[in-house]
Amino acid sequence: MTEEPLLEVREVTKNFGGIIALNRLDFTVDEGEILGIIGPNGSGKTTVANCITGFIKPSSGRILFRGRDITGMRPHRIADMGVTRTFQIMRPYYSLPAYKNMVIPLFSPRARRTGGWRGGGRLGDRNTVGIDILEEIGFERDSYVPYKVTATLPTGYLKRLELARCLALKPELIICDEVFSGLSMSEIASMVPLIERLQMDGITLIMIEHRLRELFKVANRVMVLNFGEKLVEGPPAEVMADKRVREAYFGSESAEEVMKHA
């Protein structure tokens, strides 16, 4: 019995009036795995996230989630189905305190249906559920941190807040757009167990990353994009050993140099 993949991206192309951001991209994501998407700058990684979550309509191709065609659906409908994302340029509600940020996703129809992450059944008071979720994600409950105005929080907390916003919807798939960027080593060290725990809870993750070493600790499979096309796909070690990947990152002349010293 073959299991249907959770997400299928079939021959998706995106043309921004002359600039081809995605070129016949084709891949699938199975339920429960962590797929890493890597590639040099401008390879179309964030565009993939935008297309899957409906913020941008592909010029051609199909995207299927659990067999349903979600190509070009509006973003809130797709999020309602359980496909959530974090934003590379973070978008918290700056003027509100951190825990109030959680009230908004908890107000959504999906959160009302599912009770939010780790809250089974009916949703209680959104403030308390919000603080619960924040605690799960690493905000210390009894400190003043959840109550601070978001504009004053450091990057590590803001990244977690982005994830918390997704978790409030009890998602099936989270697309993490550069969630490790801008964090210090210790902050990343505390994020990795969180990601592993999400996977254990049954959430599928697509992680778009630049920090390869940390990504390879958690990813089951990695896909490399270059100029909007899929270059290579497979387990992390295999992918990094591939010559084409090094060329893509370092350019063909310096790839030789890197290979010599590797």
Binding site: T53, F55, T84, F87, R91, Y94, P109, L169
Partner: protein
Amino acid sequence: MSATARPARKERIDRGIKVRTEGIYALMSWRELAYLTVPRLVLIVGLLSLPLVMPGMYWKRVISIVCIYALLALSFDFLAHFVGLVSLGGAFFVGTGSYLTAILNTKLGLSPLVSIPGATLIGGALCTLMLLPCLPLRGVYFAIVTLMYPLFLARVIEALDILGGTDGIMGIDSFPSAWLEQYFVIIMLLLFLFAVRRLVNTDLGLVLRAVKDNDQAVRASGMDVTRYRALAVFVASAIGCLAGACLVHIYMWAGISTFALDFSVLPIAATVIGGSGTLVGPLLGCLILVPVSELLRDFGTLRIVFYALILLAFIVFRSEGLMVYGQRKYHQIERWTKI
């Protein structure tokens, strides 16, 4: 290191009493209770007693006009500051409400106590419907469309000579009693002031503010931004239509002048002067501007130039507005501290 001029900075901290009144501690003493309730009592008692102290019919009517403009300014402030939609055409709501209540009253023979709520709800729905196309888009488009509607509606009515054409609809009933006429608007104003204040602090209000802050994030959280904007526009336009409906029953006449520029511009100027975001500030702005505009009545459209210049000055030099200043003084103390 020179010891002569030690640098100092101005520091603003919440008053002790403000912090104590947040939460259950407010009930601990009379002083804290008073801190919270006195401003609100001043507002309510002040507004209700205003008609009693004003001499003569003329000024009593001015109070009604102030309240009508205050309702409009309230709806503008709510939309602009809490939802991020700037309505450059308050006249659109006033005109719709006024014509609707005129029709309900003259053609269907309904008493004002029925036609006014009717016009409010139907008008709200109608205005929201007409504004629906621009709600999924950025705020600029809302501004453009609300700017255009009053201009067009006025011209269409004039051109097609429907709904009374340039003469307007006459023979509209006035309120059953003089007291009702005076106090209905005031009570409606107070009601909606507190209602909107309440709304803005609920979870729904929080979502609306989030839509203003960052609508992409709201979409990514699985909520249809258009629906929430439509809800906010319905509330705001209903308030505007209410104002128009009351206006018409006071003057017993509805005409194209209800689409006048006055109703679009004065609320904006009043909001900006009085302090945007406070919901009470617009009322304060109207209390100042409406009597002034009455005095300037002889100068014709110079009034609008006057509002426009004040508006420009406040917007550009980013003055905070009277109420914001007042609230700041009330809630916080400033002092110089050494660094």
